[in-house]
């Protein structure tokens, strides 16, 4: 898993590439926590290059959704879209109703 982070004021964009599984999700969680404690309130997560998203990774994204004042998960990755659809977590995409 590779993480790329860009900060602009209160907004942070995190680009994730590779697998987000039980082994790598703690790294993602640590990165997001660093951003939040550094003052970021708006978070955009780009998962276009994600090859796998497991339940542990999903748990981290749900946590970030709760912490951030504004959270946006960018659509466009088939694997992630399918998972979000299966788990009914359309709220992560900003949908008003569960998928």
């Amino acid at each position: 898993m590779q993480l790329t982070t860009t900060r602009s004021g209160d907004e942070a964009v995190v680009t994730i590439a590779g697998d987000v599984d039980a082994e790598t999700s703690p790294q993602l969680e640590a990165e997001l926590n660093t951003l939040f404690s550094g003052g970021a309130t708006s978070l955009v997560v780009d998962v276009e290059a994600v090859s796998f998203l497991g339940s542990s990774g999903l748990s981290v994204l749900i946590g970030a959704h709760r912490t951030a004042e504004r959270f946006e998960l960018r659509r466009g990755n088939r694997i992630v879209d399918r998972l979000i659809s299966l788990t009914g977590l359309g709220l992560l995409y900003g949908d008003s109703e569960p998928a």
């Binding site: 082994e23 796998f52 339940s55 748990s59 946590g63 009914g88």
Partner: protein, 513 residues
């Protein structure tokens, strides 16, 4: 003081005493020899004194014979005596020089008395030669010669006595020294015996006894008694060996106490493990309980393989909630381990109670969401189904769980997808959907630990592989299908799993043809 120094000091003392004895002995021997020599010389001098006396007597006899007879022939003893007197007096003077002053004084007085008498005798002899016998007799009658001779004799007597006394004194001195020397020589073996005894005593006290104590202490230690202090004593270096043994004993005692403490900790840990193992096994049996008997024509089997230990975040239940109603519950809590297992168990109890209360699967999930509330940062996915064993009608609800598979007799696979979001994070509603299990149908519910298991090349096990396996296996007995599925998973990934894996399988027999 160490042992070598102590023994060296004792040996040095012994050698010093031997040297002292030797020195004193040599002095005594020399002294004795001197005394013997003196005694010999004094004997010779005394003999000379006697001969001097005889010589003077000869002179006196010769003088008297000449005065009476007038012939020079009568004077011969006088002359012979006079020569002897001179010789003896010279020898006496020489011989007595090294003795005491008193002897010398007596000798001098004797020589003087002899000279005085010889002067008178010479006058009388001249008178006889010049004026005849009468004139000489007249001189003799004056008694001067006799008086002087008497004086001489007395003096000679004193000299002899003096020399004899001196000789006896020297002899006594020699004998005294000889006795002292004998006594001294007798002391040598006595000192040797004393030294030997002293050495034996010292070695016993400095070496033997400490060694005995050391041996006893080491035997005690060997026997396992580490509580007694080792006190050896003795010479410094011997005592140091004892102190080292005591230090060794103390170290061993400390280590033993430490290992006792560790053993106690280990015992407590083992007891704790035993206690928690009981709880764990109980928990596991609750998570994956034995399936009961099912109506004829129906078999069901299930298995749960935890990623770690014996308990998991997965949980299942396949049970008859009514005589012809089979309830199927599969729950997956995000994460795996004991804490998740407790949540899973709680969820299972709520869902089972809901199904027994005849709630529809969707409503059961709604009740569960209401009961568990917010589980952040964890969440739950669940699959709930009710199968009517008389009709094969299946009603199900899926809360964000991987699609269950329903394979018909003709191998058509239906994926029973989510009917609502996962639980414990966001609010939601869960609808109940219907499906049909015709004779020969297989109904499989699994957790994502199965499809997301990866092999060494990081390839996922995947739903397709599982679906194919379920479709192709004959389903007379659900149990054997489950076993084949897990064998296949193990072949795919022989190493430890990263997430819990659960598979539940319900089979409906084909109708007898």
């Amino acid at each position: 003081m160490n042992l070598r120094t102590r023994l060296s000091l004792v040996a040095a003392g012994f050698i010093a005493s031997l040297v002292a004895i030797g020195a004193v002995g040599a002095q005594l021997a020399t002294d004795r020899l001197e005394a013997a020599k003196s005694a010999g010389e004094l004997t010779a001098l005394a003999e000379k004194a006697l001969r001097l006396n005889s010589a003077y007597v000869d002179m006196e006899s010769g003088e008297r014979g000449f005065i009476i007879g007038g012939s020079e022939v009568f004077l011969e003893p006088y002359n012979r005596g006079e020569a002897a007197v001179d010789e003896l007096q010279a020898a006496l003077v020489q011989g007595t020089t090294k003795f005491d002053r008193q002897t010398r004084t007596i000798l001098d007085a004797t020589i003087a008395a002899g000279g005085a008498w010889r002067e008178q005798a010479g006058r009388e002899l001249s008178l006889r030669r010049s004026f005849g016998r009468a004139k000489a007799e007249e001189e003799v009658a004056s008694q001067i010669g006799k008086e002087r001779f008497d004086t001489l004799r007395a003096s000679l007597g004193r000299l002899s006595s003096r020399l004899v006394d001196a000789q006896r004194a020297a002899s006594r001195h020699r004998e005294h020294r000889a006795r002292q020397l004998s006594t001294l020589l007798l002391a040598v073996p006595i000192i040797g015996v004393l030294f030997t005894g002293l050495m034996a005593l010292a070695i016993r006290r400095w070496v033997a006894r400490p060694m005995d104590r050391m041996l006893a202490a080491v035997r005690l230690i060997a026997a396992g008694d580490l509580s007694s202090n080792v006190e050896v004593g003795g010479a410094d270096d011997v005592a140091e060996v004892g102190a080292s043994i005591d230090a060794m004993r103390a170290t061993m005692a400390d280590r033993l106490a430490e290992s006792d403490r560790l053993r106690e900790v280990a015992d407590r840990a083992r007891e704790a493990i035993e206690q928690s193992a009981t709880v764990t096994l109980q928990l596991r049996s609750e998570l994956a309980n034995e399936l009961g008997d099912f109506p004829p024509g129906w078999t069901a089997a299930a298995n749960l393989l935890p990623a770690e230990g014996w308990v998991a975040g997965d949980c299942y239940d396949v049970t008859l909630v009514a005589p012809h109603l089979l309830g199927v519950i599969v729950i997956d809590i995000a994460g795996h381990g004991a804490a998740q297992a407790v949540v899973a168990l709680r969820c299972k109890e709520i869902l089972r109670a809901a199904l027994r209360m005849r709630l529809e699967p969707g409503a059961a999930l709604g009740l569960l969401a209401q009961q568990v509330g917010d589980l952040h940062p964890s969440f739950v996915t669940a699959f709930v189904a009710l199968v009517d064993t008389t009709t094969g009608a299946c009603r199900y609800a899926n809360a964000g769980h991987p699609p269950a598979l329903l394979a018909d007799h003709d191998n058509t696979v239906h994926e029973l997808e989510p009917t609502g979001p996962l639980l414990g994070v966001f609010a939601g509603t869960w609808t109940t959907k219907s499906a049909q299990m015709a004779p020969g149908a297989k109904f499989a519910v699994y957790t994502d630990g199965l499809t997301e298991a990866r092999d060494d090349a990081d390839v996922f096990y995947g739903m397709e592989r599982f679906a194919e396996l379920v479709v192709t296996l004959p389903c007379e007995v659900a149990e054997s299908v489950i076993k084949t599925c897990f064998d296949d998973l193990h072949a795919f990934r022989p190493s430890r799993l990263s997430d819990d894996v659960t598979i539940v399988l319900v089979c409906r027999e084909c109708e007898a043809s």
